[in-house]
Amino acid sequence: MTLHMPPILVYALRRLAQAIPVVILIMIGTFLLLKLAPGDTVDALVGDMGGADAAFIARLRAEYGLDQPIWVQLWRYMVKLASFDFGWSFVYEQPVSTVLMERLGTTLMLMAASLSIAFTAGIALGAIAARRAYSATDNLISVLGLVFYATPSFFLSLMLMLVFSVKLGWLPVGGIKTIAAFYTGWDHVWDVIRHLIMPTAALSLIYLAFYLRLMRASVMEVADLDYVRTARAKGAKEGRLMIHHIMRNALLPVITLLGLQFSTVLGGSIVVETIFTLPGLGQLAYQSVVQRDMNTLMGIIFLCAIIVVVVNFLTDLLYARLDSRIELA
């Protein structure tokens, strides 16, 4: 019997089959790399405590299973992971899944806000710059893009903090909400938004610059193609020409970049979340490295790998939707 599955399902299953070995390899590689780093979570723990005696250290190491050979530790971890059991965080004294779920929301909010702003503003400014190529507007936008691109996010974060929090007192320095203010309803929503404004700006500007530069080049290239000239010769209005003919095709490389950059934005969130004390996956990743919280770090990497696979899958779907020449199956 032949199963007739929709092409999109076949495509999804194929991508899933490709993703599984990739994720397994990532996890094994990460595990071994982390083990190569000097010290373990017990070393970090006693470092934080300011010292401990040998019996205490040995007891902790045995309790955490760190006294076992590395292959035994790897095997145990992978077996647990197969049933989506991320293990126990010895740093947070909680299941890793609980720690991750507590942080995921903040990071997704930050990423969604940053990428949306970067993407929409980037393509809009890129398109404007391309349509007015070599004009003063184009020069201004291009210079701005270069400045955004060249400014490190940690520097930008601190400067934003200095201006908007210290000097003007408009925005909070960090965190995700005002502690002990006990806001509810829309007050709480507005409070969270206020806390996300500077981190979002710090994270999005560099990506805005990427999209701007790429969109400018892409629009300029597409605008010179024959079908655009034909449409224009047939009397299509400039607005319709731009939206239906130029933008639609110029967006293809930008969308590819969006999918690829999702993982980079996750990386960028480490710096921004750490500076703004946002309780997200980026800050958690940084602390997990410093504290050698192996299980949590592996959990983050697993989660990120899954998110990147899913986002790339969705990007491909969008790509196919925009470009009818592409078939999924």
Binding site: D43, V46, G51, V91, V166, G175, T277, P279
Partner: protein, 531 residues
Amino acid sequence: MTFNMKKAGLTLAMTGALSSVAYVANAEEEVQKGGTAIIHMISEQRILNPGLRASTGVYNITGKIMEPLIDKSYEGYEPVLATEWSGSEDGKAITVKLREGVNWHDGEPFTCDDVAFSAIELWKGLLNYSSALQANLESVDCPDPHTAVFNYSKPMPLELFVAAMPDLGHPVPKHLYEGTDILKNEYNTAPVGTGPFKFVEYQRGQYVLAEKNDDYWREGYPYLDRIVWRFIKDKSAAAAALEAGEVHESGFIGVSMADVDRFSKDDRFDVGTQGYENNVAHSTVEFNHRNPILADVKVRQAMYHGLDIDYAIQTVMHGFAKPGRGPVPSAGGINYTDEVPTYAYDTELAKTMLDEAGYPVQDDGYRFHLRHRPAPWGEYTQLWAEYFSQAMKEIDIDVEILTNDAPGFLNGVYRDHDFDTANGWHQFRSDPAVSTMVWLRSGQPEGTPWTNQFGWKSDEMDQLIDTAASELDVEKRAAMYHEIQTKAMEELPVIFAIEHPFISVTSKKLHNHHNTPRWNSSSWYDLWLEQ
């Protein structure tokens, strides 16, 4: 970073810097009740149980929620959950009278059962530092609900017991811990204590919140409604939060030394070392005595002569420190002496001593090469390493700095001994027997951080340390520690180069702050906020 050695004429003693930072409380001011004090912490705490983790980071939060039997004030040791204490003549029994009418935050009464359970199950078995201190504790008897008798198999000096209690004497509620896996008990991160503030919530990566305990045994206290401890890893962000008024205090050098300097000139803040007298630490130079060059005491003494400690204090610590005088700091009370050999900064003498020790300058311009591991415990440990390297170059010793993170440092120095010299800081905890002696006593368990893993052994020193730990006569005990200090300064197994308390930046809106010698660890029952 490059230090200008020509500026070494700066031989200012640090006493001026220290004495100028006393925070003057104005008796005329009327106490304002209420408000939320927000405290910066640079690192998150995994466990909020001082009965399980001896760490200033843990005390900084839990000291307000859980109380010790005895605390320390500027006047001496102060009764908290204990009201009286006395030792038997043979030193094998210590009787502690407990405060009556005290309740845990869940309403259960605090009794001797809690103390006995905590002492045997946590302090003796699980608490770092304490397990060595209480190794000879055999039992704790409860002749009545408010009397605890600690029974030891060997004499325990009462002075040592009392000195250890502020850090290592926090009872936990037996009714919440008995019959559970203590290490995984849920109350380790949601503490239930007897203190002036009750735990409310711990938002990982963000903050810990505690609120006023209306049933507190000190009538009329606390003044504050709430305390929030905010975790801000980035020091620049912490400085911005202080400036923006979002944080009221940052302790334990929670902002960069440059910002410490800046805040000290800002009228809105109190900056200084007051309140850390019990948290004094030494910045060290540690030697790997397995290296035959460093095993020569003359080389170590010459290297000490090559260090301009006063200059380092001014540049690295911005004046908030003073020269070390061995393993007991000046805050060590009767056990401290400054009548010990010292090593004046004299590069010519250092060079002559190195020549005499058989290490002349070689063809490459250096006498020998050293690999140095700096501890990553903060900005100033890195700067101290930079200074050490540069100072050694002045006496023709090449020092290569190997940068590492915390686990890398601990393994490199204490486990693998993969270093020639190292530097870090080590905290003194009230009594030499509880803390710094482990740096000198040989036979420490292999690989244990912050202990003598340096390959240095002295039978005479070992015997002195052991005898002092169980000597009941206070005067005799002090004389032994003076001898240990003198010997440590002669032999230099470790250079205890700089003695420094920590530094706090505190908003002047906070009142009654830093008014005890372990303020950040204390209960803050009298702290109030100007609103």
